[in-house]
Symmetry: C2
Subunit: 448 residues, 2 copies
């Protein structure tokens, strides 16, 4: 889509979003997409690789400030036997030149969190759809600005939340939809992942080997760790809330109404620095704001409760801590078990494995072999597929700008609650009243 087409779309945007139809309001369907990738670090490379696998997608431009990362990205084009892209580099804002010069249908953004907001805003202003890695912005106002920009420009914004497509989680979604759990009552999820070797490294490798971060760090340690210095709240809520949101029909008859967060003391990151780098290392003097464990409770309009846990600074095994509980039973991933009244033994757990196989989602049945080898157990394949397929067809993305905003805004809301003695705070309604009439369009079939 070029700029003149974009301008025509803009006029339609209000109507488009107010009725959210199933087909072709976001441009004419096309057989081929022209996309740009902003950010070709380790995460961007995976999203790029998946885009390059597709026959319907041309990655015409890539953009990064790190020569090493760009060079690795180019090798992916070689491997995929695809034409080299135009490369934009040399300045953190060079992406604007890419947006102005290239005729793009969409961009995929995989940059540090704080860059997501300006890049997405500029992309939509340039008439380009946005598929953005998780976290939309830093403040509540930025989330509103993205939503309004999308509505004004008629450009879609989809947060590329891959856990929505985790195989077991999608099977549980099918079970929810078929009423296996009865009426949903309480759900849990979170991000419980020992990131200490992501937050700190030796400046050369992506994982561990030192206690450097910021200018001296490499990859995520360069930027992600500073958020743990400056902020205290659930900094990474979307892996948990994304899938739960789809089970609860958020923005398809339901919405988040209020939130409270509580943070523990902060010990883990400091202790890690002292243990690994010694008490004399300059970073041992850094004071981290982020509580080691941040717990958040959310209430929905339909009166379900949601528990989110953020736990990234202590030694622990990885677990997203899912629990899906309704009037007829529950599933938990930590013990890989399920209990369903009148079907499993009373008061007993049953191994969930057979259930997850039985309710395997049609998307996984169709694309499971294509997803093999894709990042994070294959789920990255599906989230890229969903974004590009919806854009190509001119249909609404299955994760809407409203979804993306409501999931990501949990971070600033939880920071507020932590800073205010865990008092509760109401959610903004990014749909402006339409949450109760919008349809559910996430993974309804085996298309995307």
């Amino acid at each position: 889509m070029n700029r003149s087409e974009f301008l025509k779309m803009t006029a339609l945007a209000g109507t488009a979003f107010s009725i959210m139809p199933a087909k072709a309001v976001f441009g004419n369907p096309s057989s081929s997409l022209r996309i740009g990738v902003i950010g070709t670090g380790l995460r961007g490379q995976e999203l790029l690789r998946l885009s390059l696998q597709r026959e319907d997608t041309q990655v015409v431009a890539i953009c990064d400030i790190e020569p090493l990362m760009l060079s690795d990205a180019l090798q992916l084009f070689e491997k995929a036997q695809k034409p080299h892209p135009v490369i934009y580099t040399g300045s953190p804002v060079i992406y604007r030149e890419m947006l102005a010069k290239e005729e793009l249908d969409a961009v995929i953004i995989a940059t540090p969190w704080e860059w997501h907001y300006p890049m997405a805003m500029d992309a939509m202003d340039a008439g380009v759809h946005v598929g953005c890695e998780v976290m939309m912005g830093t403040t509540v106002e930025e989330h509103w600005n993205i939503v309004n920009k999308s509505l004004q420009t008629g450009k879609q914004y989809m947060m590329l939340e891959n856990v929505c497509y985790r195989r077991d989680v999608m099977a549980v979604l099918q079970m929810v939809r078929q009423g296996i759990f009865g009426e949903l009552i309480h759900l849990q999820g979170g991000y419980q992942h020992d990131l200490r070797e992501v937050k700190f490294n030796d400046g050369k490798q992506a994982y561990g080997g030192g206690v450097e971060f910021g200018a001296n760090g490499f990859s995520e340690a360069k930027w992600r760790t500073q958020h743990s210095v400056d902020r205290n709240g659930d900094l990474y809520p979307t892996h948990g809330i994304g899938p739960l949101s789809k089970m609860l029909n958020i923005h398809a008859g339901n919405r988040f109404s209020s939130l409270v967060s509580m943070a523990s003391k902060a010990r883990g990151l400091h202790d890690y620095i002292v243990k690994t780098g010694g008490a004399e290392h300059p970073n041992a003097a850094v004071k981290f704001s982020l509580g080691d464990i941040v717990t958040t409770m959310i209430k929905t309009a339909n009166e379900e409760t949601i528990l989110l846990q953020h736990d990234t600074s202590l030694p622990r095994p990885y677990s997203l801590g899912f629990r899906v509980q309704g009037t007829k039973g529950l599933w938990m991933d930590i013990n890989k078990s399920i209990h369903i009244e009148d079907i499993t033994q009373p008061h007993r757990w049953e191994e969930a494995k057979d259930w997850l196989t039985k309710f395997d989602h049609p998307l996984w049945q169709k694309y499971g072999s294509d997803a093999q080898g894709a990042g994070h157990g294959g789920m990255d394949f599906f989230v890229v597929h969903a974004f590009l397929e919806a854009i190509k067809r001119g249909e609404p993305t299955p994760i809407s700008v409203f979804d993306s905003a409501a999931w990501s805004v949990i971070t600033p809301l939880s920071e507020w609650s932590v800073a205010n003695n865990s008092n509760s705070i109401d959610f903004p309604d990014f749909t402006m009243g339409k949450w109760n009439t919008l349809p559910q369009i996430f993974a309804n079939n085996d298309d995307y």
Copy 2:
């Protein structure tokens, strides 16, 4: 101890509590205890049975209003070959006559929750120590009144919270004390128990078989269910918070500072009535206030966070949901696993079994065989033993009146928070400033 001795003690009480010494301030140690049991329902019978096993204890009086329960209780005296007690019956307040007539050292109270408060108040006024089943009172004020009454009379009040003595929980307490988890950061517990067949029965059996409660119910359904009709909050926090409190040294250098609670919608009890008794049953019209899942977060003075879950109205397997997490690792009971940095495999769970065996508490090593056959996996033995042993020796009970109040007051605080949009509420400091100087006296050795 008779009334004149009691009066002498009263004068000492202020001093006694202000220094909380280890020995002999609650009366002279004696080789034999005279106790009364108020409430000989199913729970009271178990506590009675354990008391009758002891050579140092004479159960001289029992009290109940149900002839059937009294008759079952008498059989326990037969079995134990102990002299029959004086029986007080015929009125809900006949216990007062028992307190006035009998020369008791202590009473054990195992009556409906709403009776705990007046009975404990009257017992302390009569110069009798109190061992009371869980839940101290209904309002915050009642909790204060119990604490003040105990201080004024010099009579001890111990909540008989048995889970403090669960074998795995005590092993984990040992691990905490030996620093295996490092500095504690976040703990979880709760009461997740499908009580639908406790809350409803056929009026003849204690578990299930019908959907009656209140006047038409039997045993706990007679009184417990009404709390689910009238109240919305964490109605049963002590099984979770008791053990966690001891790990966190609450009232031995730490205290609960604030709390927030959130409740889901209420569906489980109504659905059960309709499913089991039919939509035409009169109880299908009862509106239950208690949310099916009530989640509570507590912050401590030392900045640990605690998560409590109350889940008693839905089909599910029993789980108290313990999690004990510090700077060096964590234990969870739901997956029976542990992770300790530099000892277990990085990022991996290890089965907890061997750890729990290795750190078996000295009390269990000494009394494990005596505890066999006691209720709830043996832990009932230890809680009765601890209460009677401390009273006999004239030493402070290992669960103090301050502990008991702080654990039980969670219920009215959580009701307040649920009713106030999950805003946070500060804990009362029942120790009146002494929480930071009182010693830890819980299970420090193999005595009690």
